[in-house]
Symmetry: C2
Subunit: 262 residues, 2 copies
């Protein structure tokens, strides 16, 4: 694993890897098994893997944990050595330097809800640094974890909006044995907080089960199926997928399809 | 509008348009206002617009309407002349010729439901011809209507899986005044079938409204919100989006996020 501390060293590395397919795993360090699973995914799709470690000041609000965000580069490097990682990019850009690069805005429709509502400007900081690293590294693939699902959606939208030729791959959440989603911030938890945190997964699982098992949608659909059939339609299907309702119906032998959000 | 009847004429056109941005609107002809809206969308994103008209035998099953599918190229050409269309590509590939091109399989997870369940092999035929036309035309954009929403999802997956550098744009369903989704196959409907067909939109709208107004999910979420708060969590949010349940919760000052499908 070659460690690249600055743009000059990255430039030299690019000359080495430019003929290869590249998968990029951006991180803020404080690596855990979740990050390592992203590296496995990266190795499964490309010849060379580049990991970055950079705690991005642009994505932290003034009252957030930028200064105390866990940092332990030596431990991280040792962890990365347990995997096939071709390059580690760990620059030390300052906030002032980053304010001079191209500032990108996150898609408002995606960024104004959930974490974006509580962390103003957070996702603008994320897409700005991710786009900058994409420009610098020019990867073919970039891997993001589904724990930061909103971030994943926003980066997919950015890649789409800017027509970047980079394939975004999503990797599933890794969890502790208790179900707690792995996170660099879990080190902040003391023993009793940790026990409390375990309730998150337990409750999410119950909510998920309750929502999935709801029969309301199927009930609505079944009553309309009956209605269509009683009116003389032959139904291929009347189904709910991707938050839309879909129909294929035959009328006097003519097959029609339609769908709408629901 | 230049009409390109074969690969040689397309090759000459490509030499003309290769420096321009290109939006491609694939159709099977029998054009209606829905298709014309795709052409408007195409003109809004690219310098040149290419429409194709080709009734693709690969996507019709043995008992389907390939031979009687409505064809009227002169009427179609006149309709296209009402719009800015730079090129019309209307080749006459035979099924035998098409069986010699690269055969693509549609993503099974997307293709085995809905229309794919009732039209075996249909989506394989679609992605095979669409990929072939993409290779021939090399567009920057391709426009697909949301009426064929499953097709849209399958083509997006194909572009993603094959890492094609083509941006897929979706355009909304256009409807007759009665609400019936515009379709080339509507010409098959006689007067009484047409009245019956109008019930599709009316019923889909009612289903959509009933599903959207359901309070069950919000009820489940509210009861869990209470539970979290009673356990001493500070909740930033507990919300349902994109068919997933999302949480951001603070425990003794540590902010944790998690999410899962629901």
């Amino acid at each position: 694993m070659k460690i690249l501390y600055n743009l000059e060293e990255l430039e030299i590395a690019k000359n080495e890897y430019k003929q290869k397919s590249i998968a990029f795993v951006p991180t803020m360090g404080a690596l855990h098994a979740g990050h390592l699973s992203l590296i496995d995914r990266a190795n499964s799709v490309a010849e060379n893997v580049i990991v970055s470690i950079f705690v991005n000041p642009l994505q932290f609000g003034p009252n957030e944990d930028f200064s105390k965000y866990p940092r332990d580069i030596d431990r991280d490097i040792n962890l990365l050595k347990s995997k096939k990682v071709d390059y580690l990019f760990c620059p030390n850009f300052t906030k002032d330097e980053l304010l001079k690069i191209k500032q990108i805005s996150a898609e408002p429709e995606l960024a104004n809800i959930l974490c974006g509502k509580f962390r103003k400007g957070h996702f603008d900081g994320v897409v700005t640094i991710v786009n900058y690293f994409f420009e610098l590294i020019e990867p073919d693939y970039a891997i993001f974890g589904e724990k930061d699902y909103q971030q994943l959606k926003i980066i997919e939208a950015m890649v789409n909006n800017l027509s970047l030729n980079i394939k975004i791959l999503a990797a599933p959440i890794l969890r502790e044995a208790s179900g707690l989603a792995m996170s660099s911030r879990n080190v902040y938890l003391n023993q009793s907080s940790r026990l409390k945190a375990d309730e998150i997964y337990k409750n999410l699982s119950s909510i998920s089960e309750e929502i999935r098992s709801r029969e309301e949608i199927q009930g609505i659909i079944n009553s309309y199926k009956e209605k269509f059939i009683n009116s003389g339609f032959e139904l291929d299907y009347l189904e709910y997928h991707w938050s839309r309702i879909f129909i294929a119906a035959r009328i006097d032998g003519v097959r029609l399809i339609d769908n709408m959000p629901a």
